[in-house]
Symmetry: C2
């Protein structure tokens, strides 16, 4: 997305019907009138890398539409570590479950890159829910998909070794977020974050990355990770 660094006021004025990422989410079911209403009530926000969009336990009273950038959804475990439950990229919505359950969010959202997000108040979304069947069906399908992913993920966490989980996660990152021209993963997580995704100590994660590197499965240069042998990685991940 080209951003000419327009002043925030203008950005706030931007119309949802011209927003391309809308097409990637449940919002694609909204008609012109609904989109106009949406434009009026939404607020746009710039989030800097590392900033928190919302925190576990908070009442956010609406949903966020990610216009640009990537964020992590984390949950603090009693052992003091943040587990990364999910990564969210542009086009996706945040806070749907919380809104429907009428509960505080159970995950924190933290920007991994600079982000542009729009906040849509609950009242507005619930209105679409009542009147637009396709919209509510879309939301429902998204949450169902999240549930399936989460169940699958749970089984991986419970049944696979750390090595298997690391291989699986590296493949997931490449498949979901792609690679740069030099072949390196577009999404750059710190070793600590990667550990927080696979559920392991940071040192163990670093050690396994070194092993993969020595075995020629990946290539490490600074923060960059290149997957060199996806087939072998897939075999490890099973």
């Amino acid at each position: 997305m080209i951003n000419f660094a327009l002043p925030k006021t203008f950005f706030n004025m931007s119309k949802c019907d011209q927003c391309i990422v809308r097409e990637f989410s449940s919002l694609k079911a909204l008609n012109k009138d609904e989109l106009l209403k949406l434009s009026d009530c939404k607020t746009s926000h710039t989030i800097k890398k590392g900033e928190v969009i919302f925190e576990e336990g908070e009442n956010i009273n609406g949903i966020y539409c990610v216009k640009d950038g990537i964020c992590k959804l984390t949950k603090l475990s009693p052992n003091g570590k943040d587990h990364i439950v999910k990564l969210i990229k542009k086009g996706e919505l945040l806070g749907q479950r919380s809104m429907i359950s009428d509960e505080p969010v159970n995950l924190s959202a933290v920007a991994l890159e600079d982000m542009e997000v729009c906040f849509i108040p609950k009242s507005e979304v619930m209105g679409f829910f009542d009147k637009n069947n396709q919209f509510s069906m879309n939301v429902m399908k998204t949450i169902c998909s999240d549930l399936k992913d989460s169940d699958d993920h749970m089984v991986s966490m419970a049944q696979k070794s750390v090595k298997e989980r690391l291989a699986e996660t590296l493949i997931y990152l490449e498949e979901t977020f792609g690679k740069n021209v030099d072949g390196s993963l577009v999404i750059q997580l710190s070793r600590e974050e990667l550990s927080g995704m696979i559920g392991t100590a940071t040192e163990s994660c670093i050690r396994l990355l070194s092993d993969f590197n020595k075995l020629g499965l990946i290539e490490l240069s600074g923060k960059k990770i290149v997957l060199k042998d996806i087939n072998k990685l897939k075999k490890i991940a099973e």
Copy 2:
């Protein structure tokens, strides 16, 4: 529930508006007319302990309402072990996610006790969906609750030790399914099943149960497990 071992035909005739477990599920939103329609199209089934209701990958084309008994929802991991993702008791519905996503089920359902279940065809449920807003909202909230549970569960699996997970699971079993007059857990899982819930080798699970027993946290007698010191167990589970 008292069951006089009525012939199956009579059982099939039973009316949904007189079914008490309906009140525990999303179906409570249905009105009299809808319940009559439901009675006509549902089929009732007796499932013996150990029998499979549906299997991962199957297209079930409807949902099951659990009238009596408990079943496990499992997913086969590449390591050959069945992971128990969730336990389902009477009053709950099965197969909602699959129906909404219009996908095969991603979990298998196996009876842990003799069960009575009713099958409701997809066409019927989807009709309620369109016409009864409260019903679809109930389903949505159930799935949202499942998603939250699954995310929480995922973090436990990823971040907690086997000992912590075992303590957590024992408490969950007592809180969810209750205890007998002698104080033992109502739900009786084999050691292998318990291992499949916490994601560990059966021997490790047995060993930890022995440890808990020796520490006076639980009492083992045959298949029976009595939680003797819930506070300490909770502390272990964190």
